[in-house]
Symmetry: C2
Amino acid sequence: MLMDDMGWGDLGVFGEPSKETPSLDLMAAQGMLFPNFYAANPLCSPSRASLLTGRLPVRNGFYTTNAHARNAYTPQEIVGGISQDEILLPELLKNKDYASKIVGKWHLGHRTQYLPLKRGFDEWFGAPNCHFGPYNDSFRPNIPVYNNSEMKGRYYEEFEINVKTGESNITQIYLEEGLDFISRQATAQRPFFLYWAPDATHAPVYASKHFLGKSQRGRYGDAVMELDYSIGQILERLVSLGIHNNTFVFFTSDNGAAVMSGPRQSGSNGPFLCGKETTFEGGMREPAIAWWPGRIPAGTVSHQLGSVMDLFSTSLSVAGVLPPDDRVMDGLDLSPVLFNNSLLDRPIFYYRGNQMMAVRIGQYKAHYWTWSNSWEEFNKGINFCPGQEVPGVTTHTQEEHTMLPLIFHLGRDPGERFPISVLSEEYEEFVRRATAVVKEHQERLIPAVPQLNMCDAAVMNWSPAGCERLGKCLKAPESKPWKCDWPH
Amino acid sequence: MLMDDMGWGDLGVFGEPSKETPSLDLMAAQGMLFPNFYAANPLCSPSRASLLTGRLPVRNGFYTTNAHARNAYTPQEIVGGISQDEILLPELLKNKDYASKIVGKWHLGHRTQYLPLKRGFDEWFGAPNCHFGPYNDSFRPNIPVYNNSEMKGRYYEEFEINVKTGESNITQIYLEEGLDFISRQATAQRPFFLYWAPDATHAPVYASKHFLGKSQRGRYGDAVMELDYSIGQILERLVSLGIHNNTFVFFTSDNGAAVMSGPRQSGSNGPFLCGKETTFEGGMREPAIAWWPGRIPAGTVSHQLGSVMDLFSTSLSVAGVLPPDDRVMDGLDLSPVLFNNSLLDRPIFYYRGNQMMAVRIGQYKAHYWTWSNSWEEFNKGINFCPGQEVPGVTTHTQEEHTMLPLIFHLGRDPGERFPISVLSEEYEEFVRRATAVVKEHQERLIPAVPQLNMCDAAVMNWSPAGCERLGKCLKAPESKPWKCDWPH
């Protein structure tokens, strides 16, 4: 269950003051909470590509080289998608006859060859891109919603989102799609993989009528409440089907809360610095809960440094499938953590595009590069760290610190506000450790061909498969590719 | 149980990432959690005076008029203390034959006439002032530790705090004093009031040997862990004595975490803005838990806006004692909240000295004055909002906004980062409501004689009662009173 732009601080169990996530808080009480869990990237598409490949974006190709250290994703103009060279989780699970379904946002490329049913999923209900809009179909089509390999309609058309009121029943549809899939597999006694990826907490945030106005936090909170309710429903379904003791469930989010969007359209990163798009903790620290009654001890907290990429390796391990042995994997098999409460030593790397910006080892984090967003954007009022500013840390120019990295102790200073003195023994000792870890990482690193460099208006969702039947095919403009502009 | 400078974000249940407060988290699971609970003041002494009087500092005299909107407290030089005109909680509880003890920090004046045994307490073990030091006794005496009305020694002398290692067994002593008192009253079947006020999380933070180095958060976390352990011991003692179903227990803190002290000496205010000394949420929002098995429903969250002053009124109510009827009370009787999960409509006022800076009503907060700390201090490196800066909000000069208050919706925006547009209907509507509430408050307000205006080196703890017996009397300098300087 992968949320969209939901922040670490959005869950009651992680300190959201309104405490409006009873299902997730219960899930934590029945499972294992991970306060130190990370996205593979501070932006959606690369993070999602890493979840399904178990590899860093720089290795799986979900990055750009158009400019230095830029976040890239898959808007409608993107030409690329997830490479055929990558092996996706549902493709491997086929070895054990798993049925796989993705419900919600795909985001690994919307052109035909990149879609989920081409990459190991048996079913899909959802959209290939973000639900931005509504668009005037002449310059930009609205995003299609697929049922398997054909579109069923488009956001803002057949699948309404009222941008003014925030009303949409799409989360309810996604919930039903998830429940139905689970029930069918349970009846068929077939092992299954459900990738439940709703997008209601991504701007423009939405909720169905029943939840609108219910939250103390406004519309964003309404969306969280509906997702929380839905997660409760999914867990209950597992219990009522009697398969809860045989199902590994994991909840997390794709990147930090989009704090630049303001409180009406974004969530909370709790005590952490900045948010989405940045390599500060607010950009990549995620809420995370593992649940498997009878196997994962209830009510435990694991301080394991975890990553969405670990879900790849862990899922394979749980399913009894061997991971690929012909490539470097970044994900870890968390089984010893989940089942024996072990702690595995491993670093967390924070990338922005092709640049490793920072590394966390234990409680320490070293920033080799810092950047919030550019002065140009900032001066237009776009602020990736609203209300937060740490001099020399939340820099508006790309600042290199390779020779003297900025070091924080995230246990004492989760907000990355107090760099450790470069004159201290503590500093020297950690830099020595970090240097060795980074050196090893970089020596083994073979960057993939970047998939997110080229854009073209001709590739937008003008005529998705199935459009004929609906009479919803649109005419694409002539192909005029350009190097995508990635401003942050 | 009143903590010293502990922040809202320091408890696992309020999202501290290291989750190192198992006893408090259990207390919350067995009791009622208050995410919207407030100190009466962003500084220690006034907040503590309000707890014991049920009245705002401006009404009970614990404030200064030496300069506009300044926080004042009771350092050793202070001439004043809690006024004889005030009625203290233990004085009233005497009506029902309660035995009262304070363990730990008093802070309502250290001159003989102001000490706890003069003001309704039957017993005291602790200190009248903060444990700053160590001092050279010739210019400044170390703070005495009293047992009832006589000193037993001084901090850094008989009661050691190793500033270098952070080791001190004082919390253990305070724990034993508390447990012993509880057990004696239970044996005597006498109703009791224990005011347990340890100071280990106030700089210089300390912990005993067993806890030093145990926390993932460093020394501050060690202190929190020891307090958490101690609180667990106190609750367990109530259970083992069989009086838990007949005892109202409340946990909170005196003001926000002292974030200006840096992460080695201070805690976390979670998602809130700034800290101690300020009237932003980080200065006055407190962790709070009520516990009374069998009477307060387990595992509940109350969104009641609460105040430490309510503990005065609620304690009286629970003890069956009538509150004073000859004066304005600011505390509410929270019984309907605790026992019926009701919500009482009430504003929270945020004062700095004699100035009402802000008011919260429901989810909205209006700032009429803003100030973090002065440019003079800030330029010396003292920062009350480290890493946080909201333009026009965390101002370094005292800024008046009376005509156009800054309004925040604390549900959507707990970090006070996004002022609501003055052009919106929402703004206009709330300002109308707030204006009426503030007007009523100010019309009823009769400020007390300020107690915290005068200082004098002669009144320091040179020769506390009992010093003769210990051979620890020091010679006071000649009296030369001055108007205390309150820089923030």
